[in-house]
């Protein structure tokens, strides 16, 4: 009898708990719905300002004996998604670190105050003024001790981001520079070399070697042509890396690795807008990216080792 009672009791309990859960769920849903409808009716302003502003994100110049010095040069993109009567919504991307912000617009001064969430040690506040196509101002970190440069100047220009499979690194722009081909300035290998002087003494010195890419990076477009092993077998790792990452650059991927960033930040077409563009890749690009990644892995493991 007792056990029967127990079973009854527990059954009633579970039923009530489940129904409770259901109730809370439906309540939440109602809340969400009302929020959504609120959003829809909330009036938006300055829609013409919506979009991507991209440009310099540099540390404040410090006066030194050699004049003003800027320690840190970075690129930032700020995207403004919505402006309502009392809020501004959007996000910023620096080196693949994408942070949402929420802020306010002062209609009189045309100034934005935009706050990042603060859950990341490199979060801070933007104070920017809008003038036609430019967004200029500064940024300061909430947490002054955890970041390299807590105070930064922000100079942005409005850019339209549009994916275009034809964008490439341009051979011409490299020919105009001192180096004919892209060079990976971030991955130097130091080698110690030695020579014998006239007096018979052996002197050693250090030489830093940088990888440089071949002309193929200006020609092979992984967004437009179906690539096969035979097209890529004779390329070295850096070529493969550039060809693969040009696909991501076209989609506005904000690179976390400086090795890749350096090649695209100097082009006139690259606009970093997102820290994840995987879903935007076309089937052709996905296939090519997988193939390139496989060959990169092979190059890494086998290029200079005993084997094939």
């Amino acid at each position: 009898m007792k056990t029967l009672n127990l079973i009854f009791a527990s059954a009633i309990l579970t039923v009530s708990v489940i129904s409770c859960k259901k109730e809370t769920k439906s309540e939440e849903k109602i809340k969400a719905d009302s929020l959504a409808s609120k959003k829809e009716v909330e009036q938006e302003f300055h829609k013409d300002w919506y979009g991507i502003y991209t440009g310099d994100f540099n540390s404040k110049p410090i006066a030194t004996e050699y004049g003003n010095e800027i320690e840190e040069y970075k690129k930032i993109s700020v995207k403004i998604n919505r402006i309502t009567k009392d809020s501004v919504y959007g996000y910023s991307v620096v080196n693949g670190n994408q942070r949402p912000f929420r802020g306010i617009l002062n209609e009189n001064t045309l100034g934005f105050v935009l706050d990042e969430p603060g859950s990341n040690k490199s979060d801070g506040r933007f104070q920017l003024k809008i003038k036609q196509d430019s967004l200029v101002g500064d940024w300061s970190a909430y947490n002054k001790s955890d970041v390299k440069s807590p105070e930064k100047t922000v100079k942005l220009i409005r850019k339209e981001f549009a994916y275009n499979p034809n964008f490439m690194l341009s051979k011409k722009s490299y020919e105009e520079s001192d180096y004919e081909n892209p060079v990976d300035w971030n991955g130097g290998k130091v080698k110690t070399e030695s020579y014998v002087t006239d007096e018979g003494k052996t002197e050693t010195y250090e030489n830093t070697f940088y990888r440089s890419a071949s002309d193929k990076v200006f020609v092979i477009n992984a967004s437009k042509q179906k690539l096969a092993e035979k097209d890529l077998k004779n390329l070295r790792k850096l070529d493969l890396q550039i060809i693969r990452n040009t696909v991501f650059a076209r989609h506005g991927y904000s690179f976390k690795k400086a090795t890749y960033r350096q090649f695209f930040e100097n082009t006139d077409w690259y606009v970093p807008v997102s820290n994840n563009v995987d879903a935007d890749l076309s089937p052709l690009e996905k296939e090519n990216v997988a193939l390139l990644a496989r060959l990169e892995k092979y190059a890494e493991d086998h290029y200079d080792t005993f084997g094939r």
Partner: protein
């Protein structure tokens, strides 16, 4: 060499060298089995050949035993599979001709050497087997050259392949011919 072979254990279709041979692996069903015959048999051919070449005088039984294994593995598996893989070698015609030729010569010299010993021509058998083993050892010398050339020049992978395809066995053969000449004097 053992390490390289062990890369291919267990059998997979996309490890190590096969990572850049997916075109062949996916379009030719026979490529993968023949490739694996080559990989798994060659290591034993190298080992048996080594024992046979360097233990010839005093340990007759061991010499014959390992020699027979070497001849059998080389003729039945390693050289023929090598010729097939050579047809699809990386590095275009330059490399393909080299590898196919290497396979044919390896088969021929081994065959010749075996028929000489059947006729009890020990000296001829010895010289032909030297040639045969010099070609077998190209497996090692080719990879050695690759490391050296990459260290010196950092060439593109397929450019280097065309060079080592020939550098792997021609000097070996020349060296052995020189040793044979010296013996005959």
């Amino acid at each position: 060499m053992l390490n390289i072979t062990l890369d291919y254990v267990p059998i997979a279709s996309d490890v190590s060298f096969l990572m850049i041979k997916q075109t062949e692996v996916t379009s030719r069903p026979e490529y993968l089995p023949i490739f694996y015959i080559h990989v798994y048999s060659s290591i034993f051919a190298l080992l048996a050949g080594f024992i046979a070449v360097f233990f010839d005088k005093n340990l007759k039984y061991l010499h014959r035993f390992s020699g027979r294994i070497y001849v059998f593995i080389t003729l039945a598996f390693s050289s023929l599979s090598g010729i097939y893989i050579g047809i699809f070698a990386n590095g275009g015609w330059t490399a393909k001709v080299s590898f196919v030729l290497l396979g044919i010569l390896w088969f021929y010299t081994t065959c010749k050497s075996y028929s000489e010993i059947r006729k009890k021509n020990i000296a001829r058998h010895k010289f032909w087997m030297w040639r045969s083993y010099a070609l077998a050892v190209s497996a090692i010398t080719l990879r050695m050259w690759k490391v050296i050339l990459v260290y010196l020049f950092q060439p593109n992978p397929m450019d280097i392949y065309q060079v080592i395809a020939w550098l792997g066995w021609i000097p070996n053969l020349l060296l052995v011919e020189y040793l044979i000449k010296k013996q005959n004097r």
